[in-house]
Symmetry: D2
Subunit: 334 residues, 4 copies
């Protein structure tokens, strides 16, 4: 048979359960074992998916040649290092760490160990974006002149999550920043603006709405708008305007149906990222297996993740200071 890459999964929260199901039903991956800080959760998921559940991360590392990490952010870097030092390939949810030095150390550990480290920027694997990206990268739209992207959640996450999210730019905007680098190239300046449309955010010194302006190395402008409180639904869309063509990726609807009543035609809207990017979460794990199997680098490796987080940090600085922040072109480790 075509070997399915066994992957052991740590962290069985909302995102972890999505990964668990996708690993269990993968065509290039399979779920080898699960682990969670809460042993009852691990047992429950293990039983449901018919795989072993283990009590420690060390046991998990022993269970397969690759691990997937969707534990709380604060533990990511440590687990990456432990897995890498054991020679295991790593798929890790973003961010690697909210502390840059810690993140750099984790990336370096993976590079030193020669293992694949892929970070969970799922949009790079979403078929709607991939099909546009291929044409953009093939030069079909000419020189990029304007980039625009939107990421909006229907409703804010719960406060407990927010407290450890790393802030709006590192948690939300970072996805659009990675897409900016993927589709257009390096960013040299970031200017960020934020607001709290929901007073609950103002009270904790946080924001729920942001507009971030980018200047790319080629001189093009980019603009990101983000919200945690869009109310009408979840939305993710991207436009890349070029001298020859313009690509737009959208897709706000949950179903392909319309309900008409006198004077109005209505379509239902997506409510969350899981609905919108279902195929992307499957594809990113398949791609991870492909990198492990082929030796090709991960499409979103540790350095790409660092580069996106450097831009998020620049956005945070810009927002705090009210000034544009210059970013050196050499995003990543150095």
């Amino acid at each position: 048979m075509t070997a399915r890459l066994p992957v052991a999964l740590a962290g069985l929260g909302r995102m972890g359960r999505i990964h668990a199901a996708n690993l269990a039903r993968g065509s290039a991956v399979r779920l080898a074992a699960v682990h969670d800080a809460d042993p009852e959760v691990a047992r429950s998921v293990g039983e449901e998916l018919d795989v072993p559940w283990v009590a420690t991360f060390d046991d998990l590392i022993d269970a397969a040649p690759a691990v997937a990490i969707s534990t709380p952010t604060g533990t990511h870097a440590e687990l990456i290092v432990a897995a890498a030092e054991a020679g295991k390939h790593v798929f890790c949810e973003k961010p690697i760490s909210l502390d840059r030095a810690t993140a750099v150390a984790a990336v370096e550990a993976a590079e030193k160990a020669g293992v694949v480290l892929q970070v969970g920027f799922h949009r790079r694997f979403d078929p709607d974006w991939v099909v546009a990206a291929e044409r953009i990268h093939a030069g079909e739209l000419g020189e990029v002149t304007l980039f625009r992207t939107t990421l909006r959640d229907m409703n804010p996450p719960n406060p407990a999550f927010l407290a450890h999210s790393g802030g709006f730019f590192a948690d939300v905007t970072v996805h659009d920043l990675d897409v900016a680098r993927w589709l257009v190239g390096e960013v040299v300046e970031v200017t960020a603006h934020g607001a709290a449309s929901d007073p609950a955010f103002a009270e904790i010194g946080d924001i729920d709405t942001a507009v971030v302006v980018l200047r790319f190395a080629n001189g093009a402008l980019g603009v990101i708008d983000n919200s945690r409180s869009a109310r009408y639904g979840y939305e993710c869309s991207t436009e890349v305007m070029g001298t020859l063509a313009t690509a737009r990726v959208d897709g706000a609807h949950r179903h392909n149906y319309e309900w008409r009543t006198p004077g109005w035609a209505s379509r239902d809207l997506l409510s969350n990222f899981g609905e919108r990017h279902r195929l992307a979460y499957i594809a990113e794990l398949e791609a991870f297996a492909h990198s492990v199997g082929s030796g090709e680098p991960a499409k979103v490796d540790g350095r790409a993740a660092l580069a996106a987080f450097d831009l998020a940090a620049a956005a945070e600085r810009s927002y705090r200071t009210g000034l544009p922040v210059t970013v050196d072109g050499r995003n990543g480790l150095s």
Copy 2:
């Protein structure tokens, strides 16, 4: 100055007022005088648009080199003949007459007088259909393989109108039958099905819903669906499928705006033909002036109108008998 064709207008009901406004503000036409069976109506419209109002159709004929007729159906043929015999060009709302012999006589009178006779099949002048028609007629979609068209009113007309409408097929379906001939070509067989979704129609022996199947001379199939009771809004759409391409004309929305509330995105729908075909009603009069000025035949002349009504009559026969009705290829006068 570029001469605007003076047009004298008879009949100031709903459709007549639309024509009055379009004639008054035309670029190739101008409103020369108005007449209505109700002198008060004529006076009121005349004053509003600053044109003479006249007491008789004979006076109206004297007022301009061309007349537009939107009086009740029963008077159309007689007025066409009178105008034609006076050497005046005629634009007339459909149908020419519910009696075929009378309609033929009117068409022959216009032909004998050498005047332009254009019948109000407005969709032939709607920019959305025209742009598709041009590509279809240029052969860009290859051989036609399937034709589909829809005409639906939001709500039924009032009973007084229905009593003199000529029946569902002659009043509603005839528009789609004309479009079928325009976009695809001659029809050789008609099979019609009808139903009364609103019991009020059943009570008067009429229908408010129909499906009509066409077979074209080239062997292609066509299908028309019509309703007087669509409830959600007015809709008119057409599809022509070909071996090289497929053209679709649609346009259900009243405005280009969307209103999003939690979980739903809604757009407003059109409520009547006036909203949908506003540009077509202007363009058909401009085209009439062009025919008069250039000597080119009208795009929908009397023979084309007869051909469409022959198909409507065939649909009526098919509906009454439950059987397909063969139509001879020589639609029109003969």
Copy 3:
């Protein structure tokens, strides 16, 4: 763990491979074994999906409490009977048989054995249709007044397939006929029209285009248009118009992206049913497992399949005779 229903699969052609993958990665089903008339195909799929492959259908029946059948049509009924007599639940691709008596015997065998028999009318499980169906069945659109549905393939299947397809109506239209019964109710009259837009079909006495008009028991009209040669892409759409609301299901696009070049915005179209109904093929197997587990009847059981095929046969008769065909309201076995 939550028990996944083991399903043994016979027939590994195009549709069979789709089922194999969906069974292997199911959450309520799992692939227990595979069989194909060509042992090499069975071995290859078995190895790829890491399941046993068996040499005979008898061995397959022994391998699991349920079987899925996607063998050539001519073998369906026989395999259903064999499985049913062995007490196994059966999921079978449509049609049960091109011979009505044979189909009836197979349905009766399953009923007698008390096993679940589900037939592969996938659209009943497609989320886009399901969401509309729920609202229709809840009465949200009032009384149905007009039904319209479209099924079009981009390109015709190969001639070898056509020879055993049972004809256009039984192979293509039957899907729309089942949807008609599901969404609106019983059909009492069928009138069918066909044409061969591609001369290759005319040569073998077959058609590639059809328009079928339905009259429902409640008096509403329905219309189906089908093509094997739409050329632009695969399309499946359905509209149900009611007195309170109108539901439309569509979804022609392969991706949610638009490519803009000077003067034009373009979106890509679907090319086949596998792309369009991917989720439906997964959901129908999950629903099958649910019926087996819960004892609830299958959503598309043998009688429903017979009823749809009776309508397809009526369409075929109508097409051959050129006349409407009355269908008795008691569709199904009796």
Copy 4:
């Protein structure tokens, strides 16, 4: 008859000819006379529309109780003052003047004379925006949380025009700034970014692309993106996100038709503002007549125009300095 307001028109360039046709065919306005710096142009248009053409602006003022000004920008203020002092109502294309003091003087002259002064921000009269604005102003979307608007031209204007355009922000962005004030309210901070995607703009020290971030008095963020070089077509769209609902105005297509070829569905795009806002250019003149007739203030009066230009000037300053520019809440004259 209902009195149509006679309007005398000065300036018969591209925009002037649009106004000439709309005045000539208006229902609340009529074209009383025309004037242009080039007497041949004035004569030609006068003959075509059957109205007097006059040699001087003084003669034009005498010709009607209201004047419309679409002369080159540099002459606007002087003509406004002359007309106002003669007691004539004024419709004037934007901008009033590129020099603020001159613009203020013109606005004050009109106010002192007690005449209506309306400035040509046409989008305020576009039905697509008006329908959304009504619901926004009625409070249906709750508190505004994010505003986004786009204005893009397909191709840059000719260099001769650019030299006197007042710069990108005063010529292009000002339209979106006026819409921001109209739909959301006062702006307190502007941050602008610009780029020259076409090297021809860089050579003359100008830009063809901009992103402008707004902060409104209520704390909400806004973002504008503009381009003179969108290449694919003309586009104008606006989104207002609120706590209860989100409104989107769009409308990129020239016709309501789709052309399908194997694998692709294409729709045509608009090429310029004249196509997109045809109805708005008619409605703004009708609204002007309404203000003159009713004594109600113009919907976009001189102070509103000044406020929008103050924001454009702030954007220009922000772009030049690379810093946010604070705007006092008291936009307009003071």
